[in-house]
């Protein structure tokens, strides 16, 4: 979710701070604040009275309300204030942290906690801009995380998390259709192509490099590539052309019959959903399995919309929270990260009217009372049960996405 690149991309080349190559502040000032999540009472004591600036995508009012709720709990229970900094693109937060590093700001940084995954995480991890490894796995609630069945919680786009980010929720690509206009949706990519051919102008996808658009490309890639095992390794420039040839053959055939003949694209997932709501298209998709139910509850989609998945599985991943190396309120950020992992917070998050984001916890391992929290959830009329969600196709290595986006843009968005 955090890497959704949205409609509005403000210029925040914060990074260009670096440009002036300011005299880097003396390294002596580097005072690594000693917070050890293994000593939790110590963390709680340090956190009291802190203000945690939580940088999180702010485009969804339901999610903002959830974060505000979490903040209120932290204030009441631990005396920690939480301020959500509503960002419209997590890449800007990355830029901000890099700029602070460039300016020699080794402590007291602007970002205490950031909602993150995928390439943004990889960027920060590779540049050494995250809090020292291992903190996530030392959180008191960590043992409840379902590492066995949800490997994505420790492997973010094939990149090991090394405990440098704490899982927050699961995502899986699901499709939506309005039964009012389309009773039987196509369940395979081939059937989708047939449907689009027979009903011109009624299908589209967000324009890559938008996150959801790229995910659709990855779904097609994973389905069409000859050897899917290749996707877990970095893309090989030598064979890339051949690997993606079937993908582009599929899109070449699809585009002429797409919405606006493939000459224009919605810019993000909410825009795609809006097209479905307006009746402009027959099929939309989302990374939130309860997204359709939540949108129906909010009056954003007609109640005739239902969810489906493709035979053979769809792309799935996890999203996380991370603490930058120079965070000002590390103790408070740790407490917030831990609270977000608690069964209470996770169950609330999975409730479709609240958010509908699937939990990262192993529900069957929870205490009875906590299991009941999840059992009591009404997942909504348009949400598939965990069994119906089908198998997960793992995210390809991040390099595939970068190359795919480049190739897609050269082919379809530069005439």
């Amino acid at each position: 979710m955090t890497i959704i690149r949205l409609l509005s991309r403000p210029v925040r080349g914060a990074l260009l701070a670096a440009a002036l190559s300011l005299p880097i502040a003396p390294l002596a000032s580097r005072a690594e604040e000693a917070v050890d999540p293994a000593a939790w009472t110590d963390v709680l004591a340090k956190a009291k009275g802190q203000t945690v600036y939580f940088h999180a995508w702010g485009g969804e009012p339901r999610i903002n309300a959830y974060i505000a709720w979490a903040g209120k709990q932290l204030q009441q229970r631990h005396g920690i204030a939480v301020e959500q900094v509503k960002v419209d693109d997590t890449a800007n937060v990355v830029a901000r942290i890099v700029a602070e590093k460039a300016a020699g700001k080794e402590s007291g940084g602007a970002v205490d906690l950031v909602w993150i995954n995928g390439e943004n995480f990889v960027s920060l991890k590779k540049a050494g801009l995250l809090m020292s490894p291992g903190w996530a796995t030392k959180l008191p609630n960590w043992p409840l995380v379902d590492v066995e069945n949800k490997p994505a919680v420790v492997t973010d786009f094939t990149e090991p998390t090394d405990g440098q980010e704490s899982p927050w929720g699961m995502a899986k690509l699901v499709f939506m259709h309005d039964t009012g206009t389309l009773a039987e949706p196509p369940k395979t990519l081939a059937a989708l192509a047939e449907h689009v051919k027979a009903n011109p102008g009624r299908f589209t996808y967000p324009q890559p490099p938008n996150f959801h658009g790229s995910t659709f490309l990855k779904q097609v890639l994973a389905t069409t590539i000859a050897d899917r095992a290749k996707l877990s390794r970095p893309a090989d420039p030598a064979s890339f052309e051949a690997d993606v040839a079937p993908l582009f053959a599929y899109l070449d055939a699809l585009h002429p019959n797409m919405w606006r003949q493939g000459r224009a694209f919605p810019q993000n997932q909410p825009a795609l959903r809006q097209l479905l709501a307006d009746g402009e298209i027959d099929i939309a998709f989302t990374f939130n399995p309860a997204g359709a139910s939540a949108a129906i509850a909010a009056g954003e989609l007609p109640d005739t919309v239902r969810t489906f998945v493709l035979d053979g599985g769809t792309i799935g991943n996890a999203h996380f929270v991370a603490i930058p190396f120079n965070a000002n309120a590390k103790a408070g950020a740790l407490v917030l990260a831990d609270f977000l992992l608690s069964p209470e917070a996770q169950a609330r998050k999975q409730d479709p009217p609240i958010w509908g984001d699937p939990t990262v916890l192993a529900v069957e391992r929870l205490e009875a009372a906590d299991r009941e929290r999840f059992a009591a959830l009404d997942l909504g009329i348009a949400t598939l049960s965990p069994e119906e969600l089908g198998p997960v196709i793992e995210e390809p290595h991040a390099s595939w996405m970068v190359e795919l986006e480049r190739a897609w843009t050269a082919r379809y968005a530069s005439q």
Binding site: S8, V87, A264
Partner: protein, 560 residues
């Protein structure tokens, strides 16, 4: 003291622009040590040029910017030529003035809500006239040539150019010139174009350049109405600057320089056009032709002005309607029911954002007005105008595309340790507020008859007393209007607020853009309305306050 004012004002406006440009230049040349760029090279530029569709992007920026500016300019000029002095003209003047305060993004959203295939116009016609039960698959918003975007930019720039022209007209003695020309047998448009335009144009030239620079580098309007395959250059730059792949920053900076060049190129093209027009105009005057396709000019410009102003007003009404709309499906002409749900849900957050917005704008406007007055008063006392030397400098922050220098501002504040503070954001706003306040204030101030001052002096008043008791009261209306304009400019600032505030300072505008990203039309409606209401309130206040002050000070009855 007064002598320092111009220096301080220029430093506040130009210092950040210069620093910001330097901050763009270094990475564009490949020099950013933390990112591994230690050698100066042309590599970023080379990378930029190999981007697919980069030529098309540049052509789009240049083309839409030039066409939109020329369209708005031609409509305003011909309309004034054809209708000045008529009731129709006065009516449109009243209609257009408040539209100037409408933020670009709000206007663009309104237009999109109106003319998209699922928009209001199509809903009104469907299904009874069109037979459409579902929105037709028409490429209107986001067309590859940027026609809709051009239209949107035109609609938004017309009120600005119109008001600039109206401000300049009195000095051109337009009505009398036209009367003389008419007595020589010239038809109205021909009379205006030959006698008034040559004198009025030099005064609106810099505003036209500002519009050109803006239209060729616009991001928000382009995102809402513009093409995406490929998008205009500024939009792509923004994307690269935000890309998690940090190495793209070099190319983005090179692109920012290219954007600067592109905007300058647009101005150059315009200047060549000026030469050409002057030559043709002179030939026309010498030919003695008495008319200029009068009915056509009147019909075209009248239609364009009314249609665009009407579209904008309708769009704004639609924003208001969407903000209270319940379910509203195509092709229903009206929402199923009205609800305040979205408003009540966001009242709290909106209240906070409004408070922060005012907390920044108010002090900025007060300081800007004080500085501008100090400069102008110093000028009056010295008995000279620094106008012609300083005017281009004043326009510099408005002509250099924001995208080319605004991140350098952040560096400046990081160095000063002021980033993330209200003070820093306010200083960032000052760069853009000061020029507008100056522009709005200087002409009315210079128009004050100097004899009032001389008289006060002769009666024994000190210079300070003359300022406070004579000149300032005479200029109060202009001061109020300039303050309202400055306020509006501060409210609309997006990039400086976000950059320098580090995302911690949330104004109505930053909230609007963050939430607009979610594509929720109710929310877009609410925040676009709020973005509009604040400046409107300021202008209303500006209209009311001088009147009240006037009533309390009967001794200052005289007006210039």
């Amino acid at each position: 003291m007064l002598r320092l004012a111009p220096v301080l004002a220029l430093a506040l406006m130009l210092g950040p622009v210069a620093a910001g440009l330097l901050g763009t230049l270094l990475p564009a040349a490949g020099y950013v040590p933390v990112l591994g760029g230690t050698a100066v090279s042309l590599e970023p530029l080379r990378m930029l040029l190999t981007q697919p569709g980069i030529g098309m992007s540049a052509a789009l920026s240049l083309g839409t910017g030039l066409v939109a500016t020329f369209g708005a300019f031609a409509a305003v000029i011909l309309f004034t030529a054809a209708f000045e002095g008529t009731r129709f003209f006065r009516a449109l003047r009243r209609l257009l003035s408040p539209l100037m305060a409408v933020p670009h993004a709000a206007a663009a959203f309104g237009l999109a809500f109106l003319i998209a295939p699922s928009g209001f116009a199509m809903r009104l016609l469907s299904p009874w006239a069109t037979g459409f039960q579902r929105p037709p698959d028409l490429l209107i918003v986001g067309d590859p040539l940027g026609l809709t975007m051009t239209l949107g930019l035109m609609a938004k720039e017309i009120p600005f150019l119109f008001l600039m022209l109206l401000a300049a007209l009195p000095q051109a003695d337009a009505l009398r010139s036209r009367r003389v020309a008419a007595s020589l047998g010239y038809a109205p448009v021909a009379a205006w174009l030959t006698t008034v335009l040559p004198r009025v144009y030099p005064q609106i030239r810099l505003p036209v350049f500002a519009v050109l620079a803006y239209a060729t580098s616009v991001v928000d309007v382009a995102l809402i109405l513009g093409p995406t395959t490929p998008p205009p250059l500024a939009v792509r730059l923004t994307g690269w600057m935000n890309d998690p792949d940090l190495s793209l920053r070099f190319m983005a900076s090179a692109g920012a320089l290219a954007q600067l060049g592109l905007s300058l190129l647009a101005i150059l093209v315009w200047m060549i056009g000026e030469r050409l027009a002057a030559k043709l105009g002179r030939r026309w005057i010498e030919s003695g032709r008495r008319s200029a396709a009068e009915p056509l000019a009147a019909a075209l410009s009248g239609t364009a002005m009314v249609a665009l102003a009407g579209a904008m007003l309708a769009g704004l009404a639609l924003l208001a309607l969407w903000s209270v709309a319940g379910p509203w499906r195509f092709p229903d002409p009206l929402p199923h029911h009205l609800t305040l749900r979205a408003w009540t849900m966001h009242a709290h957050a909106a209240g906070d954002a409004i408070a922060v917005t005012i907390a920044i704008a108010l002090p900025v406007v007060i300081v800007a007005i004080a500085l501008a007055l100090a400069c102008l008063e110093g000028e009056t006392r010295d008995g000279r105008t620094i106008r012609h030397r300083s005017l281009p400098l004043l326009y510099l922050p408005l002509i250099v595309p924001q995208i080319a220098f605004v991140f350098g501002l952040q560096v400046l504040f990081l160095m000063a340790g002021l980033h993330d503070t209200l003070l820093a954001v306010a200083l960032g706003h000052m760069v853009f507020v000061l020029p507008y306040v100056f522009l709005a204030l200087s002409d009315p101030w210079r128009a004050i008859d100097p004899r009032y001052g001389h008289m006060a002096g002769a009666l024994g008043a000190s210079p300070a007393r003359t300022f406070w008791r004579v000149r300032l009261p005479l200029a109060r209306k202009a001061v109020a209007t300039a303050a309202a304009l400055g306020f509006a400019v501060s409210v609309a600032q997006y990039l400086p607020t976000l950059l320098i505030g580090g995302g911690r300072i949330s104004t109505v505008t930053t909230e609007a853009v963050a939430l607009a990203a979610g594509g929720n039309r109710q929310l877009v409606g609410i925040y676009a309305l709020l973005q509009m209401l604040l400046p409107f309130a300021a202008f209303l206040l500006a209209a009311a306050v001088p009147g009240i002050a006037h009533r309390r000070r009967p001794e200052n009855e005289a007006t210039a």
